[in-house]
């Protein structure tokens, strides 16, 4: 190869490269490498027909923040799942295209890679299935089946992006869901002060340490042990377990919860035990957003647990009211709960709105 031919080849290659990847907005390609602490474990929920790729995550992020995925062109996934609030919206019930309130409180999106049953009642087994529900719910994004795909098909940019991810520029609802699911699986939070404490890189204050002890210990009056036993359902490095319990909000549940999914009387008033990760950012609390503050949540478990027939067995020692936490114990628990806020996660530029140029 002569010098001139080499230069010519180089120029052609450069032009080809620039044509494929605009210098200001390169679409990354290749398998997506998941990074997470070893203690989180590798029990992922990734369907075999939707392996994670960098281009898939890229597209999913665009779609997550895409208001054109709604009947009014004003509501995106991010409307009710805002990064600064750990992907919640701060409302008791959310408002979608119809102006009507949603039935349940917007859920935090975090560490979904490990979640196997989604929604407050666990009715969906994959993010791919779950994503289409708000998209097509009349009071959320309000689109009819196929409508989102039609909208995006007419745009200049999306068909090429879908071709890059799925090998075809035919856009379908299923492919939209797959891409959004890929992005959502990257929403990994593992850098809160609590994570750093577990890694030996953060020293707890005295109040935080007392709070951790109350969080972890089961109360035992015989042995004089005080505890909230919170970790029984909310413990582990991910601060999440896949459980559905009735936590004693009402004597007769207003919303039957998981019973609607399974048809079992024993599931009456049972809801997902939510992750406590970033819990200080995700007010208001419970499936119906009835508690405005974490202090109100602690007051519930401490003093107001309702002994309904399906009350969680873990709360039964508290049946006659609650744990009876002292004001100091509540303050200590609050100090601990604030350790679970991952500011790196809520500020991670990889999770922010890609349609806004910074």
């Amino acid at each position: 190869m002569t010098i001139s031919r080499f230069v010519l080849f180089g120029c052609v290659a450069l032009v080809a490269l620039v044509a494929f990847q605009p210098a200001d907005d390169p679409v990354p390609t290749g398998p997506y490498e998941l990074r997470y602490p070893a203690s989180f474990g590798g029990r992922f929920n990734i369907p075999v027909d939707n392996p994670m790729t960098q281009e898939g995550v890229y597209l999913g992020r665009l779609l997550f923040y895409e208001p054109r995925l709604s009947a009014t062109g004003t509501v995106s996934c991010a409307s009710c799942h805002q990064q600064s609030r750990a992907f919640t919206d701060g409302l008791v019930h959310s408002v979608g295209v119809s102006g009507k309130l949603t039935r349940r409180n917007s859920m935090s999106l975090v560490n979904l890679l490990w979640v196997r049953q989604l929604f407050w009642d666990g009715r969906s087994n994959s993010l791919e299935e779950q994503t289409l529900v708000p998209l097509q719910h009349a009071d959320e994004m309000g689109l009819k089946p196929g409508e989102a795909a039609q909208w995006l098909q007419k745009t200049a940019a999306y068909p090429a992006l879908f071709r890059r991810v799925f090998g075809t520029d035919t856009i379908t609802d299923a492919r939209i869901a797959k891409a959004i699911a890929q992005f959502e699986r990257t929403l990994i939070s593992a850098d809160s002060p609590y994570d750093r404490f577990l890694a030996g890189k953060y020293v707890l204050t005295a109040a935080e340490e007392r709070g951790l002890r109350l969080f972890s210990a089961a109360p035992n009056s015989g042995r004089g042990i005080r505890g909230g036993n919170c970790a029984h359902c909310h413990g582990g490095p991910k601060l999440m377990q896949e459980l559905f319990h009735n936590n004693g909000l009402d004597l007769k549940a207003i919303d039957p919860g998981r019973q609607e999914v399974t048809g079992l009387d024993l599931d009456h008033g049972r809801f997902r035990v939510p992750t406590l990760r970033n819990i200080a950012l995700t007010a208001p609390y419970m499936h119906d957003g009835r508690f405005a503050t974490l202090a109100a949540v602690l007051d519930h478990y401490s003093d107001h647990v309702q002994a309904s027939p399906t009350l969680s067995r873990e709360l039964v020692p508290a049946q006659a009211g609650g744990l009876g936490l002292t004001p100091t114990e509540k303050t200590d628990l609050l100090a601990f709960l604030h350790l679970l806020t991952d500011t790196v996660f809520v500020n991670n530029p990889q999770f922010s709105n890609p349609h806004i140029r910074h």
């Binding site: 666990g122 005080r226 559905f244 024993l266 309904s308 399906t310 020692p317 049946q319 006659a320 009211g321």
Partner: protein, 169 residues
Amino acid sequence: MTRFNFLFRPAHWASFVLIGAFCLAAGTGFGQITISGEVTKPLTLQAADLKALPHTEVTGKDRDGKEHKYVGVPLADLLKLAGATMGGELRGENLMKYVVVKAIDGYETLYALPELDTDFATRTIILADSVDGSPLPSGVGPYRIVVPGEKKPARWVREVKSIEVRFAK
């Protein structure tokens, strides 16, 4: 220390009993067990089916630290009924099989298939339906796994919903 003394007030125990009675009266709408996965005959057993199967009594220490008598159907019998590779068939690659037991609240644990097989195990793991002569209480029953001799009852799954045989990949 005295904060939990309400547990020992008879009035409160009476209310627990009332709640239990309410559950029984209302009917739980629950009592079937599915057995699926690596079996030749997947089964859904109703409460009456389970009641009719031969029962075995075992003793085990619950979280209260006390020994209790549990009566129920050996898991080995249920697995044989569904056509899992038990007994003489439990050899070679079948030793890479395990059983996942799920509760209605989503709790799940596993047991290696030989742990449940009478040719291997010295203890009998049962699907209990009664404790000390009474039906299992609300929040525990109608069915609970009991693993006699296990020091920590974390695998004594309460409110059992399903039993699935799987191959470790």
